[in-house]
Amino acid sequence: MTGAPMTENQTVADEVTARDLFLGFLKVGTQGFGGVLPWARRMIVEERHWLSEVDFTDLLSLCQLLPGPNIVNVSVAIGNRFAGPLGALAAVTGLMAAPFAIVLALGMLYAAYGTSEALGSVFRDLGAAAAGLVLATAWKVAKPYVRRPEAMIVAALAFVAVVIFSWPLLYVVLVLAPLSVAWAWRLAR
């Protein structure tokens, strides 16, 4: 893999306890407006240096191929890497605890009062802010790969399949993942 502009020169934490995992993911869960991925990446890569940029993307990609909510899978994988089964349990519990309570409380309010016009525009504005976060995350995840044309072509295909052709995510992953791995295989020979 010569010439791949991978930034692996960050300092990476080597000791992360189950307690750190629980508290780190608890913070991510509480902050995670509009989806958790941007906040998880921020905490894991930028604030606590648990994983390098590239390691995070690698792990996320692997978790995307497995069924289930991606970010929940990421918490299990990172928890296991640093602290085994207990770490996995600590990370996933930390991630889910606060949001579960908050969403349940909101569900009760909804059951009692329904929604109002004002809430509709709150949701829309929160959504707009969340879109910026996810956009920033896409940019950061893409940065180590922008100078590899084959990677950008596959990324563009995935984007077009979802945005323009509205393919279900399942098919996009099942079709593009093997093709892309085969391409990476050819290039590596």
Binding site: P67, G68, P69, P99, D125, A158, V162, V163, P168, A177
Partner: protein, 175 residues
């Protein structure tokens, strides 16, 4: 509430958990079919409103299942639905990742990951675009999107406070 609702919730979401490749959003249409058309736990409109609620609240968007469970069978339903949706996939991930990290074939691992990463990049970019398209209707929405993007990429400030601004603006009905 019929006593077997919890069992029905469990059965539906254990299955969904194991087919949700690509994430929880991949099975939202199937959740809709089950909750609205098959089990009649809620109306079409309730589903849309609860989905907006799950997305606006902090935390993984998979918590939509918590709301479906609550609507179907109260707090017990919320707990059962969430555990059923997350449990099986977590276990699978746990064993798959352990196996993956034990594997010594570094070259193969590298190739697989270099192949998968671009798909992930494209999917994240696509979800950003779809989120923006759904939420940005005016200059204020566009400014919020641009604002969080800049805060996140160019500064070390926590973008959380912009969400506060967004919520207040929405409440005041300015946008």
């Amino acid at each position: 509430m019929k006593p077997d609702v919890l069992g029905v919730l469990m059965r539906h979401f254990v299955l969904l958990s194991l087919v949700a490749i690509g994430g929880a959003n991949a099975v939202v249409p199937e959740m809709h079919r089950l909750a609205v058309e098959v089990e009649h736990w809620m109306t079409d409109r309730q589903f849309a409103e609860l989905f907006a609620l799950a997305n606006a609240a902090p935390g993984p968007n998979v918590l939509m299942v918590c709301l479906i469970g609550f609507q179907a069978a109260g707090i017990a339903g919320a707990v059962v639905a969430t555990l059923a949706m997350c449990g099986p996939s977590c276990l699978l991930t746990y064993f798959a990742v352990r196996r993956w990290e034990k594997s010594r074939n570094e070259r193969l691992k590298k190739i697989v990951q270099r192949g998968l990463a671009p798909v992930t990049i494209g999917l994240i970019a696509a979800s950003a675009f779809l989120l923006a398209r759904a939420a940005v209707h005016d200059w204020l929405g566009a400014a919020l999107t641009a604002g969080t993007f800049v805060l996140m990429t160019a500064t070390r400030y926590n973008p959380l406070w912009l969400f506060g601004v967004a919520a207040v603006l929405g409440l005041l009905g300015i946008s």
